[in-house]
């Protein structure tokens, strides 16, 4: 352990002396400062609530736990008598339930009660439908950067008259409360049913605490004093997700990895310089041990920088938006793992060539190659759905390539998925999960670790068998 710490400290000295760490910290600070300049203003309550409350027609069965979504036709939701108290909203929720809408068999069923019954049900039949090509081409949310699959939807539940009739007032209140969680991510809601004015209409008095600050509420986006996105009805969670996934994990992470590859590509060749290596390996430390400790030193260095950057961004987003979900922090180990893969390749090249320039350029080429395979595979997956499988041969080649090569881009997709789980509302997540096939978690991690181990094993073997 003492040896490891000594080599770690030595790597740190090298990084500090070469201004590597200062460059990284400045970039980290600039990223955090940039994100801190972004503000989020909740939109007008009356307008947005009136529009968005209609979405309550869609619900998640199994009390919001199912992976499917469903809807019962004939139910309309209206918000009236809206009062705003800061971010809290008080209003009357009027649910109009038209039994003659066409749902169910005679005798007619109250659709609202049928929806509540369906929400309570666990078992759902599902079917697969093709996504419209226009939706695929146009891209929606992060689908333009993901593997698309056929849309799987839950069929309307088969509710009997007795089941619908058995729904209690408490179950209806519970359903409405859960809809606030599903559609807005707002869990602190008081719902009280008013006396029923007429048949087929339900009126509830609702007090939603911090509804306007919830992740499902539309927000305008500002940069310093300037409004840059207004009147787009973008939910806060979606905006935060785009910042976290696109700006930080995507662009920021890419730049961080690129700069890290460039700056750390000098570490191993410097260590292997004639006259430097001899001094160290004549000490009681194994050649392979020294190489691997140097590698780990680089990783810890990047872990620190990633933790500062991502942690800082998470903190300022939390301060500015009130969203403190920690799942965005998964970006830290994801960036470290991506770097671990690239640095293991860089280490192998450095050991084989002893050239920092070769290690740097080949690692950048390797990164670009992996990205390109992932990108082409994504395009082919989209094309496959649209063109109905006319690209089988080319697609198979890239499927195989993507499966056997390190899953650099798939790792990015997994990170995006976990990040979105911390930012999206449950309804938005269900839509995403229905159309985006996430890569296998164990497949991605397994093959990535396998490559890291293989690169390091080759580097260690070459280093240990090489004289001097």
């Amino acid at each position: 352990m003492r040896t490891f710490l000594a080599i770690l400290r030595d790597s740190f000295r090298e990084a500090v002396d070469g201004f590597v760490i200062y460059i990284m910290l400045i970039l980290s600070f600039l990223t955090i400062a940039f994100v801190a300049c972004i503000g989020y203003q909740p939109t007008d309550a009356e307008g947005y609530l009136s529009k968005s409350i209609k979405g309550f027609a869609v619900f998640i069965p199994d009390k919001g736990e199912s992976t499917a979504i469903s809807a019962v036709p004939g139910v309309n939701y209206e918000a009236t008598a809206i009062k705003v108290n800061g971010k809290d909203v008080l209003f009357d929720l009027e649910v109009t339930s038209k039994s003659d809408f066409g749902f169910g068999k005679p005798p007619a069923i109250d659709p609202f009660r049928a929806a509540v019954a369906g929400w309570l049900k666990k078992a759902y039949k599902s079917e697969k439908r093709k996504m419209p090509a226009a939706a695929l081409r146009g891209g929606r949310g992060n689908t333009s950067d993901s593997t698309l699959k056929e849309l799987e939807i839950a069929l309307a539940p088969d509710i009997s008259v007795e089941e619908a009739a058995a729904i209690t007032d408490e179950q209806m209140v519970e359903f409405i409360k859960n809809q606030f969680v599903s559609h807005y991510g707002c869990g602190d809601v008081k719902v009280r049913r008013r006396s029923n004015p007429d048949a087929g209409k339900y009126v509830y008095e609702v007090e939603a605490i911090n509804l306007r600050g919830s992740r499902g509420w539309a927000h305008d986006v500002t940069f310093l004093p300037w409004k840059i996105i207004t009147d787009k009805d973008l939910p806060l969670g979606l905006v935060v997700y785009v910042i976290e996934d696109t700006i930080v994990n995507g662009i920021g992470g890419g730049i961080l990895l690129l700069i890290s590859v460039i700056l750390t590509s000098f570490f191993i060749p410097n260590m292997l310089r004639k006259g430097t290596l001899d001094l160290v390996v004549s000490k009681p430390v194994g050649k392979v041990q020294y190489l691997l400790y140097k590698y780990l030193g680089g990783l810890i260095f990047i872990t620190l920088v990633s933790a500062i950057t991502v942690g800082g961004v998470w903190f300022v987003i939390g301060i500015r938006s009130g969203m403190w979900d920690p799942r965005f922090l998964i970006t830290i180990p994801a960036l470290v793992l991506s770097f671990a893969l690239l640095y293991s390749f860089s280490t192998l090249i450095a050991v084989l060539t002893r050239s920092a320039i070769a290690a740097m350029l080949l690692t950048i080429a390797f990164t670009f190659g992996l990205w390109l395979v992932g990108y082409i595979k994504k395009q082919l997956d989209v094309a496959k759905v649209i063109e109905e499988g006319n690209l089988d041969t080319v697609s198979s080649v890239f499927d195989v390539l993507n499966n056997v090569l390190p899953r650099y881009k798939d790792l990015d997709k997994l990170t995006s998925k976990v990040t979105s789980e911390g930012a999206y509302t449950p309804i938005l997540l269900r839509f995403q999960d229905m159309i985006i096939e996430p890569p296998s978690f164990f497949g991605v991690l397994g093959i990535t670790f396998l490559y890291i181990a293989a690169f390091l094993a080759l580097a260690s073997w070459r280093h240990s068998t090489r004289d001097g």
Binding site: A6, D10, R13, G275, D278, L279, K283, P284, V285, D467
Partner: protein, 321 residues
């Protein structure tokens, strides 16, 4: 027991034989010099002993353990030729780093580092970055790092390289002190005078072979040679002395007489006395190590290294006796 014990050591780099069946023993408490031209194989041999380079065949043991074992490296110090210390360290921080690799605790490190830097004259620059050091200062730091952890054996590859004459003298004195403390010091050098001045025993290496070993005195006494000066006006009887079987070389006022094995200078002196030639001066002129080395190199270049090897074996056998 020999501290360094090398037997039939061979190292090939592809078709190039860097070491050709080298056999060498170094006893404890000596300063042992390995002399040779650049590329003779001196550094390769040290690197094999330290496990930096793998041997092709033969045996190499250090302190009774196979060369290169981790256990042995704790007890050994090493200054490589062309060392490149990381410029981002200060003298002190570098020694702390190396001390940690040796497993030294902080208290010992602090004490030993201060002492060692003081010994090599760097105590005032210990906290300066190494990249600000002169070549001589780096060399002195290199020597400090080779002994600060209290090793039993110290390998120094060209230790006086880049050091001024005063610094060289100090290094020689330091090595003498380290020897007095019971350490064994193995010095590689192509600087003949340095080896002659500091080493107890010497091995001469040429093109991967040990061509001669022995003490400096032994090596420089292999040929007895006398310089004789007669009183003014007297002529040296060159022909008569040659007739007695001696090799004679007149040189201005003095005449050099070289003895073959079994011959005595007394025979020549008796002849001069019988001819009433008055002597002014008689001195035994030792061959320098440089003479020996140059002779051996010339012989080797002429392809006559066999004689050198035979001589080396004879010297080695005599030492073993």
């Amino acid at each position: 027991m020999a501290v360094i014990d090398v037997s039939n050591l061979q190292k090939d780099y592809g078709s190039l034989q860097a070491l050709k069946s080298v056999t060498l023993q170094v006893d404890s408490g000596q300063i042992y010099g390995l002399l040779g031209q650049n590329g003779a194989g001196k550094s390769t041999m040290i690197k094999i002993l330290l496990g930096i380079v793998r041997l092709t065949s033969g045996e190499a043991n250090l302190l009774g353990f196979p060369a290169g074992s981790i256990e042995v490296r704790k007890r050994v110090g090493y200054l490589p030729e062309d060392h490149a210390f990381p410029g981002y360290h200060t003298g002190e921080s570098l020694l702390h780093f190396y001390g940690q690799l040796y497993g030294m605790n902080r208290t010992d490190r602090v004490k030993r580092i201060a002492e060692s830097l003081d010994i090599v004259g760097l105590s005032k620059r210990g906290t300066s970055k190494i990249k600000t050091y002169s070549k001589g200062m780096k060399q002195r730091l290199g020597i400090a790092q080779s002994f600060f952890h209290d090793p039993e054996v110290i390998f120094l590859d060209e230790p006086t390289d880049g050091v001024d004459p005063v610094g060289r003298k100090e290094i020689r004195e330091l090595l003498a002190t380290l020897k007095e403390e019971g350490r064994t010091i193995f010095v590689n050098s192509h600087l003949l005078q340095e080896i002659e001045l500091m080493c107890d025993r010497v091995a001469i290496m040429h093109k991967g072979e040990i061509v001669r070993t022995g003490t400096v005195a032994e090596l420089t006494k292999t040929v007895e040679r006398f310089s004789i000066t007669l009183a003014p006006g007297a002529d040296f009887p060159v022909a008569e002395v040659k007739a007695l079987g001696f090799k004679v070389e007149p040189d201005d006022e003095e005449t050099h007489v070289e003895l073959k094995p079994g011959q005595s200078i007394d025979t020549v002196l008796d002849l001069l006395s019988s001819k009433n030639l008055r002597l002014r001066n008689v001195r035994e002129s030792k061959q320098t190590l440089e003479d020996i080395f140059m002779d051996l190199v010339e012989q080797a270049e002429r392809g006559s290294t066999k004689r050198g090897v035979r001589v080396a074996r004879a010297v080695s056998a005599r030492r073993d006796d």
